[in-house]
Each structure stands twice: as structure tokens, then as C-alpha cells.
Amino acid sequence: MTPDPRLEEEISRTWRDPPGLWGFIATVDHKRIAARYIVTALLLMFLAGMLAIDMRWQLTVPENTRMTPQLYNESFSLHGSTMLYLVSVPVMEAMAFWLVPLMLGARNMAFPRLGAFSYWLYLGGVLTLWIAHAMDITPDLGWFEYPPLAGPAYSPGHRADIWAQMITFTEVAALCASVNVAATILKMRPPGMTLARMPVFLWAMLIASIMTILSMPAIMLVTSMLIADRMVSTHFFSPGAGGDVILFQHLFWFFGHPEVYIIFIPATGFVSSIVETFSRRRLFGHSVLVLSIISIGALAFGLWVHHMFAVGLPRLGNDFYTAASMAIALPAGLQIFCWIATMWSGRPRFDTPMLWVIAFVLTFVIGGLSGIMTASAALDLQLTDTYFIVAHFHYVLVGGALFPLFGAFCYWYPKATGRMMSERWGKIALVGIVGGFNLGFFPMHLLGLMGMPRRVYTYPTGMGWDTLNQIATAGSVISVLGGLVFVANALLSYWRGAPSGADPWQGSTLEWASASPAPPWNFDYTPVVHSLTPMWDESRPLPVMDGLANDHREVLITSVTDAAPLYRQKSASPSIWPIVAALAVTIMFIASIFTPWAVPLGSVLIGAALTGWFWPPRPRAKQGPLGTGA
């Protein structure tokens, strides 16, 4: 079937953004929003990496004076808060924003303006933390800011408030993003893509979104309670007035543990996509993978106390959470076996994305094993607050989430840009990052076992920790250099990479059926799906349906379980209201650091912005008491 130029022209007029700055601000194109999210997160990852190098410099020799204790506290707090709240979670949502509509053969997300709003709020959180840092109001109590240390008595000033409001920004953004992703996956699948025919990637994003919806209210609640304690003298966490500091830890980790899986589960989606395409066979054990993701999602809510083994909870509680923590190794292990079985029984091609997956498997398994060790309450009491923990969580978070992310970046880069990244430089970057990472973090296991505490700015001579620290620093530097090669490769390939074509890897899922780069409307027609791997079906050419409007923005809504077409839904056009609403929310959040009156006054402002947002543009009433009577 040859494309009809008149149709292309009409559809392009309907979906393209206005030119210039206005289009930049008003766009609701999920790909532009996601790209913004990704670029912002990568910039922040670079900044957090620089902080890490600075801390490694401080620890390279004993009794180093590069950093004061205060600067060290600020550095690890900023590093951890940036990586957890501003990089890892947002970048995974961004990948969902970018890929979910493409993989569904859809023209946009379910709620396009909510997507734009989510980004602007996330940016508000980024600026809150980093502008405050530039003004020397850097949070300095780690990434979780426990009271009583974070309470009004021990932390005067606004460092802790900045941290708490940064959380509010990013969590509201994440919650909006999650509702959007979940609604898109549940209601906008193409005809034929029943739940049973849904790729693992989409399952992963759906489960991660539902987990976000159920866990992030916990941290919004607990940081709001902390701010209230600090500003209006409530007593949630003051033991003298019947409050309890452990309550903070329970609520924090009720969010904090699922958070780790909210980062990891999308990564399992990347890995599944890459393994399938590069093994050139359908995933081994699709149902096992999906059920594993669901059970990890469920178990993740029953583990939070293993972060609190050292606070002195009842023994039975510790035993229960030890068992639950070990149980999660089962579904995680099943996933690994499914991926290995896919590779083993397929015809694997070892391009860069696949090499990242192999690096992930090797590194993540090490992190998983140290996780089983720390899951034991008895052992954890010895290891907690040592470098063993630092090694463990970097192995699971960097190895388990960032390596798959880098693989995903290489895998979908041609779809985003229409160009291939250099394979040679990609492999050099991979060796640098993976090699440097292992060199940098493996010695930390040993340092932890030798008793080196974390979050302490220096150590005395004669502890025997010097050489291992120096190896760790060297590894970190190599890893960052590898990261710079990776970024340079991405930038140069954007202009000089070989043209990729629509489907350079012979991928299995629908995103490869759109042009590269995908146009603002993604697809001219709605694909019809008959299997888990629609791009590999025998029935060529690709079956599609027409009938979505081309003269205005419209998307297809289908039923939740069997994706039967239900109706055609109008889809939002570019709009300035998301950024206006985000600015109103920003004014309220920032002002409420200084006065509680910001909450009622700011709510009026937000209400006005939302009224503008949701005011439907339709003709005036003719009938009724306020009708024009014409």
C-alpha cells in the first residue's frame, strides 16, 4: 500500500506542534516530553557522578582534607537524593512515556496534558534542589532525612524543608505520570492485543505504575508530616509529646522499598525487549516473566522492615521480613533463567544493547547475592551502615537498572533519531563503564566486611583500608570516563550516525512499525495484533485499520482485557495550561517552606489554573435559565 500524500499532509497539519518557543512550551507530544525528561535526568546523572568522584577523591587517602564533614554530608545527600528522586524513577517513567504509545500503535498518551504537567513539576523539583544547592541551602541528612535529626530541634534553617518539598514536587509528578501510563496501557491497546498478548515491557510499565500509585502517597504523607512538625509544631515525631520517630521510618520505607522495584521492574521490561529481539526468538516463558513481575510487585510491599533491622523491632518481625526478603529472590531468579533460556535457545546477536543485558545479568546477580546476605537480620546487624551496603545497592541499582537503561538507550536510539550509534564506541563505553563500575564497587564489599562505615567523611591511618579505597576511586574514574564516551557517542551519532531505517534490529514489537524518527502522530493507521510479536508474524504486510479522524486529534479506546475497540476519543492539542498549572503548584510548594498560609492561598491559584485547563471550549447555551435563547 503506498502512502497517500494528501492524507499525510492533513494528519501532519493536525498533529504538528506550533513552531518556535510557543510550541516548545505548549507541546503535548509524548516523545518530546519524554526526551526532555531523559535529557534532564542524564544531565543530573552527570552532576551526581561528579559528586561521587569528589567523594571518592576525599576517601582516597586517610585523613584527607579535601572535604569538611559538612561538605561531605551535603555531597552524599545531594548525590543520593538526585539519583533516587530525580534520575532513576523519572528516567524510567520517561522511557514509558516515550515507548508505551509507540508499542501500542497509538498516536499519543491517554492524558497528553497531564504528561506535560508531570514534566514541568519534575523540573520544579530539580530546580528546587539544585538552585538551593547553588545558594548553599543543600540538604545534608542523607536521602531519607530521619527525624529527630531532621526535626525542628536539630535542623534549624531550611535544608530539610528543601529536601521535603523537592520530594513533593517529584512525587506528584511521578503519580501523574503513573496514572497516565497505566490508563494508556489498560485502555489504548490496539485491536487484538489482549492482556495475554501484551509484551513484557508493557506489563513491566503497568506494574511499576501501579506500584508507584500505591507507594508514593506514603512519602508525600510522611514528608508533609515532617514539614508540619517543623513549621506548625505538630508532634508526629517528637517522643516527648507522644510522637514516634520510628513512624517516620515505617512510612518512609513503605515507600522506599517499593521504590527500588519501581526502578528495577521497568528495567526488566527493557531487558525482555532486548533479549527477545537479539536472540531472534520469542521470549522463553512469557507467562513466567509476567507472573514474576507481578509477584515482585506484590512482595515489594512486604519487605520494608528489612531496612529497619537495626532499630530494635520485635524478633518475630525481623524473622518474618527476613523470610519475605529471601522469597523475592525466587521470582527474580526465574526471570534471569527465562532470559538465559531465551538466549541459549535463540540465535543471539551480540550488538551493544545485548552486551549491556549480559553486563546486567552478571552484575545484578552479584547484587542479588549480597542482597540475600543482608536479608538475614543477624548478618545485617553487622553489615548495616558499612560499605558493604553501599556496594550492594550500587550493584542492584546501577547493575540492575542503569545497565539495562543504557542498553535500552542504544536499542531505541535509532527509533528516536533515525540514526545508528557507533557500535565500536558503544562497546568501548560499555567496557569502561562496566569494568570501572566493578573495579570501583567490588572492593567496597571487602571494605564493609573490614568495618569501614558509610556516611563518614574520612578514616584514620593504619586501618588497612587505603589500597582498596584507591582501587575504588580508580574504578569510579574509569566508569565516569566510559560514561563520557557513551554521551559523546550519542551526541555525535545524532548528526553523523548511519541512517537506521524504520527497523534496524528486526525488532519484535510495534514501535518498529513506525517511521524513524516517529512523526508526531506516530502511526497513519491503527495496527491489528495477532500475537506477542506482531512484527514477526507471517501475515505480511502488517494488518491495520483506518477510520481514526485525521482532521482533528483522535485516539482509539479499547476494552481492558481483550482490547476490543470501544470508541474514538478526542485527544488534547498543545496547551499552555500544563505549565501555568505547574507554575501555580510551584508557587504554593516553595512559599509553603516559609509560611503555612501558602497552602490555602496557593490552592486558590491552583484552582484557577485547573479551571482554565479543564474549561471545555464549546458554544454558549441557547436553552436554560442562562441560555442566550437564540
Partner: protein, 205 residues
Amino acid sequence: MNGPPDMKIVGTLSNLPTSAIGSRHLVWWGNVGFMLIEGTGFALAAAAYLYLMTQAPAWPPKGDALPGLLWSGIFTALLLISEIPALWVLRCARAEKVGGVRWGTLVLTLFGIALLVPRGFEFAHLGVPWHQDAYGSVIWLLLVLHTTHVVTELGESAVQTVWLFTHQIGDDQFSDVEDNSNYWTFVVLAWLPIYALIYWAPRAV
């Protein structure tokens, strides 16, 4: 060639309707998503209440007065009665009755305004300021959390009323009215466990 692969048209979506009601509609799911978020927030705040309660030697702590039952009782009764127009509006929206959704949403707005009166007195009769102790803090937290929802519903209903009376109503607006009604029901249902916690848990222990 960066273009898409060859395609074959096997059917058309042009005969599909352009709207739907209930759970078939996309926005219904967005609404459920936000209810789930806020319901989780309520549940966790309730868990914080129960946690503090189990840690305390006495609940309420010695010297704190029990929260008053009169105004909270009036609020609860009024809120339950408001569910009748909420459900009626829902039926009108599904039947696409213009007059019904206009006047019904106006009635909901008036209920929203009326509810703020006993709610204001409820705060005055909680018996303890928020800065007295953790017990005071957590009952204020629960009541403030619910009040933000009542105010949000009032705002949404008021704006919707103005719009509905002044504009020609289409399928999407009937669907908006339906979502508003569902949200109202959520605010009513969320109140019942919170009411039990604030007013009856201290009397039961």
C-alpha cells in the same frame, strides 16, 4: 528509507462512536487512578493514627478532651444525604439529561457549601489543638486531609455548575459530570472510616 513498513487495511474504526459511559470511558480510569492515590493516602494516614494509638499509654492522652459528637454527627448525616443527589446526577448524566445535570450539580455545590459549616465547628470542637501532642496532631491531620477533599469537590462542582448552565453540553461533559459524581461518592465513603477513627476509636479504647 526511514519510513514505516508496508501495511494492509483490514478494517475500519470510522463507525465507532465518539464517546462512551462508565468504565468504558478513558477518563473514568484516570479518575479511578487518582482515587486510588488519595485512598492510599487516607489509608496510610489512618495507619499512622493506629500506630500512634498503639504506642500511647492512653488514648486520648490524659488531660485531652474527647472530640465533640454533635457537629461531626451533623456533618456525617449531611454528607450521607448528599449522596442522594450525587447518585441522581450520575443517572441524569448517563441518560444525558441536560436539565438534570445542571440542577443536580448545582444542588451538589450547595451541599458542598453547607457541609463547610458543620466542618468548621468540628475543628472547633476537636477538643485539642494540633500542637498539643501527637494525638492532637494526627486527628487534625485526618480532618484536614478530608476537608481538602470536600473543598476540592465543592470547587469542582461549582465550576462545573457555571459551565453547564452557560454552555451547550456534549457527550464529554456528561462524562465529566459522571466523574464528578463518582468522586463525590469517594469523598463520602472515605469519610466513614475516618469518622470512626477520630470520634469513636478514642471512646472505644
